[in-house]
Structure formats: C-alpha cells, structure tokens
Symmetry: C2
Subunit: 136 residues, 2 copies
C-alpha cells in the first residue's frame, strides 16, 4: 500500500512525511497523460513535436505541463540545443525507465482483459436496461 498505518512509533514524523511524499508522487504519476507520455517515450529520444504526434490527443498545454512535472521529479531529461529553430529533446532517465516497465505491465493487462471487460460492460448495461422501474 501507499498509505501506511500510523503506529505511534518514535519517529513517525519521518514516516508520515515520506508517506505524504509517496502520495504526492503517486498522484503525479497516476494520471493519464503522464503515463501515456512515458509509454510514448519508451527507450527513445524524442523532440517536443514528435511527442505531441506520438501521444495523440494531447494538447500543447498538457504536454508541456506534464513534461515539466516529469522533469521536476527526475523521470525525464530535457536537452536544449541552442540552434535556430530551437531543438529540444526528451528522454527517460533511469527511474523513468523503471517506471516504464510497470506501465508496460499495465498496458499488457489492458490488452489481455479487453474481452472480459467488454463482456462485463455488456452485462451491466443489460442489467441497467432491465431493472429500472422506468421500464418501457
């Protein structure tokens, strides 16, 4: 679990601090765009505009915003080439790579359970169409 129990041990102040930090990081990382960006980067080095094409559906603003956040957490590295027009490249750092592995697992899970989930949806949708007293 991310959240630990409060045991009342001597230096639990440290524990709670680390805990809230974990929560914060978790919240940063557990968001759609961040995950998609990391997955899009993979082991590659991509420019800003390339990333925008890769992620598909992300807006200019969300991309920069998340890139800043990821850089701030040390998950990606940003390299600026002082040329004109500007060239900026993004790549995963080591922690970023490690995170990507777990995100890959998440993607695998999604694909492996597509069928089951689709079926479950049809079931609950059908149930919703029956039960309501507003039948007919």
């Amino acid at each position: 679990m991310v959240t630990k129990q409060f045991t009342g041990s001597p230096d639990d102040a440290d524990l709670r601090r680390a805990d809230s930090l974990a929560r914060e990081i978790f919240s940063d990382v557990a968001n759609k765009w961040a995950l998609l960006i990391i997955e899009a980067l993979g082991g590659r080095v991509l420019r800003f505009s390339e990333l925008r094409d890769e992620v598909e559906g992300i807006s200019h603003k969300m991309l920069t915003q998340n890139l800043r956040m990821l850089e701030h957490n040390g998950l990606i590295e940003r390299t600026v080439y002082p040329v004109v027009p500007p060239r900026v490249e993004y790549a995963l750092t080591e922690p970023g790579q490690a995170l990507r592995v777990t995100i890959d697992a998440l993607c695998d899970w999604t694909h492996r359970h597509l069928g089951q989930i689709e079926a479950a949806r049809r079931r609950t949708d059908a149930a919703a169409a029956d039960s309501p007293d507003t039948e007919r």
Copy 2:
C-alpha cells in the same frame, strides 16, 4: 503501447475500435482514486464504510462513483445483503486481482525511488531559484 499505428490493413476498423476501447479503459483505470481503491481492497472483502476509511481522503461521492465505474468494467464485485441496516460488500474479481498486481508494482516503484525523486526535486528547485533574471 496502448495506441497502435494505422497500417491500412484489411480490417483495421476492428483494430481501431479495440484501440479506442483500450484507451477508454486506460483512462478509467489511470486515475488516482481507482488505483487507490483497488489497492485498498487487496484480496479482502470490504464494506462501503470500511473502504471509505481505508482509502483516506476520498469523499463519499468519489468512492461511489469509482465503485460504480469499476463494477461496470467488471473489476470489482458488489454484493448486497438484504438486511437492515443495509450491508454491501465489495471485492476484486479475477481481472481486478490481476490489475492489482501491476498496481503493486507501481507502489513498489514509488517507494524504491522516493529518495531519487526527492533529490531530483531539490536539484530542479535549486536551479529555478538561480536562473531567473529576477535574482535578488
């Protein structure tokens, strides 16, 4: 990756449909509360109020909302006991359990990299305090 390239093969309509579904599921699942709820459930069977206590910080509304969503996707099972006062229990289904494993990995990652991330933050924060021309 969740998003596949458009290759122009025969029945790519199916592929794109499955793809958009994957995206949708990914968006459902890649949200803070859903992840925390699944992690809180673990292998256990919990009542609504127990879940609310476990998740810490979640509101009544967000909890029900996400529980409905997770049930709709077949990741959790909802059992209602027709007693008074009402007793409703939630548990992970098999797909839910599988997902939990990958979420565990995410939690592990968070804890293992707490230090590196904290360090990275201090570095970029320090850099932000230097560079601005608004120095002093």
